[in-house]
Amino acid sequence: MSETILDVQHLTHQFRLTKHTTIRAVDDVSFQLQRGEIFGLVGESGSGKSTVARCIMNLYRPAGGRIFYRGVNVCDPKQYRMHKNMLQTTRQMIFQDSTSSLNQRMTVADIIMEPMAINHIAPPGGSLRAEAERQLHDVGMDASYLNKYPPELSGGMRQRVAIARALSMEPDFIVADEPIASLDVSIQAQIINLFKHLQAEHGFTFLFIAHDLAVVKYLCDRVGVMCHGKLVEIAPAAELFAHPAHPYTKLLLSAVPIPDPRLERARVLQTFDPSDLQDTGEMREICRDHFARMPVEGVPH
């Protein structure tokens, strides 16, 4: 068995809406990531998948539960301070909207060089600029882009710059929060290929958050399905798509559009009532590595 790089245990997070109402965005979520795997987290908007990512990256302080990254409990302020340097350099995040995640007033070169400069990393390519050029080349862009500003680039190019910035730290672990949702289909394919290629080359662990199941099926090794803040199913990608166990997973799979008019018109949407999701449930192993949320007794709900 390979090494567990990330261990999320009973993660819970809630947002306060008003004085009296809080909303439980993440409710008792546990999963582990092995080193070098691509893990997909899927669910509708509002299912809490981005909140999980943000808790893992210390952007939110979770209300409950623990997150171990390489054995360090990142939620514990004392341990976080002790390992701050390691945590900040080996974990990187790529956001959905590249217009807001890249500073419009910095050139592409400055954007890619910034994390290295902040963390005082001696660039393997000699100068920071040479290293930025190498990173840019790795994501399929040439040196002529170094002096451009983000608004001059197309959406796909901006997302490549964001990936180059994350990779400039040679991270062990990357979280990508819907990195291709705002891109055209043909550009999506380019970015997915790029992820696959870079992951094979660098061997980083990859948490990929998406709502497009066709992409997840193609890219990910294992997939977790979230619904209303709860993790309802977790399985290897091929197994999940072949034998979905939870009704919500079935609904999500039935919603994937098929590029074929006859099949697509015959496709029937499955239904799932989220109120069926009871608070008391536990993850049970259906077959090897395939877990689904079941009530304490009986069938999946």
């Binding site: 509708e44 055209d184 043909s186 497009d212 992409v215 559009p257 008019p261 006859r262």
Partner: protein
């Protein structure tokens, strides 16, 4: 059936400091009433500009260079804003991509729909307007409309907001509904619901729909006909079956193969090499030639005309010329998964 909308050789350009951007180049198509036409293309291919130029919603930097737009037998190409105001609503309505920016956050959903109803039926009594709003909300599948009349857009989920926007668009009972990427910002589960709703409405009211999208996977559900646009031109047009099962243009092949559904396990996804051309100075010949693995010498010299494949299926590629070498398309009929 008579043609409801006929666009002939339409060219639209924007005047900018750098020069003239040819956003729509020589586009012709027609739309019958009660038909769903999907316009597919990458961002920047001119699909939104085409819709907006038909509705005359373009900014004053844009100019219709040539061509004609005929609606219901009336040529509206030279219509001014005052004439268009009478037509919009009665003839066209539009649903935009992002329902949050299309709705006014400070007005209740019901009053926003009521506003649209009053604009198009000025003499209507208050009670009749209310009844019409409730009927519209029911039509677009908003359950318990009386309770939700007084709610604000932020109370609604993305799918419910898009339904409200559609109710506003349908308030005037338009003959043509433009939907510009209506499902792009929505979840997959909601996406299918909204597409089904568009089809239901089109069946119930007989509204013709022009659906703009960048994803060939999405439109298979409801499109009767599909037009593929590239660099301001329609490169292939045909019925949904013809486009999905017998595509002829290399760009259509590329768009389809880029879908993960077509990917073979373990192989990288197909991508179309290169970038779309700059429309400030479109290349001579076929704009797609430099990205096309099947390009012929003539593609770099001369623009291909629309070759006829069948009565409904046309494609602009020299591969269909009788002198061209025979090429086997990389995909044949349906998915290969």
């Amino acid at each position: 059936m008579a043609e409801l909308l006929e666009v002939k050789n339409l060219s639209v350009s924007f005047e900018t400091a750098q020069g003239e951007i040819q956003a729509v180049r020589d586009v012709s198509f027609s739309l019958k009433s009660g038909e769903v036409l999907a316009i597919i293309g990458e961002s920047g291919c001119g699909k939104s500009v085409l819709c907006k130029s038909i509705m005359k919603l373009l900014c004053n930097k844009a100019r219709i260079k040539s061509g004609s737009i005929t609606v219901d037998g009336v040529d509206i190409t030279r219509y001014r804003e005052r004439d268009m105001q009478k037509l919009r609503g009665r003839l066209f309505s539009m649903v935009f991509q992002d329902p949050m920016t299309a709705l006014n956050p400070t007005m209740t959903v019901g009053s926003q729909i009521a506003e649209a109803v009053r604009v198009h039926h000025p003499g209507m009594s208050r009670d009749a307007v209310y009844q019409r709003v409730i009927a519209l909300m029911e039509l677009v599948g908003i359950e318990r409309p009386d309770e939700r009349y007084g709610l604000y857009p932020y109370h609604f989920s993305g799918g419910m907001r898009q339904r409200s926007v559609m109710a506003i668009a349908l308030a005037s009972a338009p003959k043509i509904l433009f939907a510009d990427e209506p499902t792009t910002s929505l979840d997959v589960t909601i996406q299918a619901q909204i597409l089904d709703l568009l089809r239901d409405i089109q069946r119930k009211l007989g509204t013709a729909t022009i659906l703009v999208s960048h994803d060939l996977g999405v439109v298979a559900r409801i499109a009767d006909r599909i037009a593929v646009m590239y660099a301001g031109k329609i490169v292939e047009i045909g019925t949904a079956e013809e486009i999905y099962y017998d595509p002829r243009h290399p760009y259509t092949w590329g768009l389809m193969m880029a879908l993960p559904a077509y990917a073979k396990a373990g192989e990288p996804l197909y991508t179309i090499p290169g970038m779309p051309p700059n429309l400030l100075d479109p290349p001579k010949g076929d704009a797609f030639a430099c990205r096309n693995a099947y390009a012929l010498a003539i593609d770099y010299e001369e623009m291909p005309p629309m070759f006829k494949v069948s009565d409904t299926h046309y494609a602009a590629t020299w591969l269909l010329d009788e002198r061209a070498p025979k090429v086997t398309p990389p995909l044949r009929g349906g998915r290969n998964v």
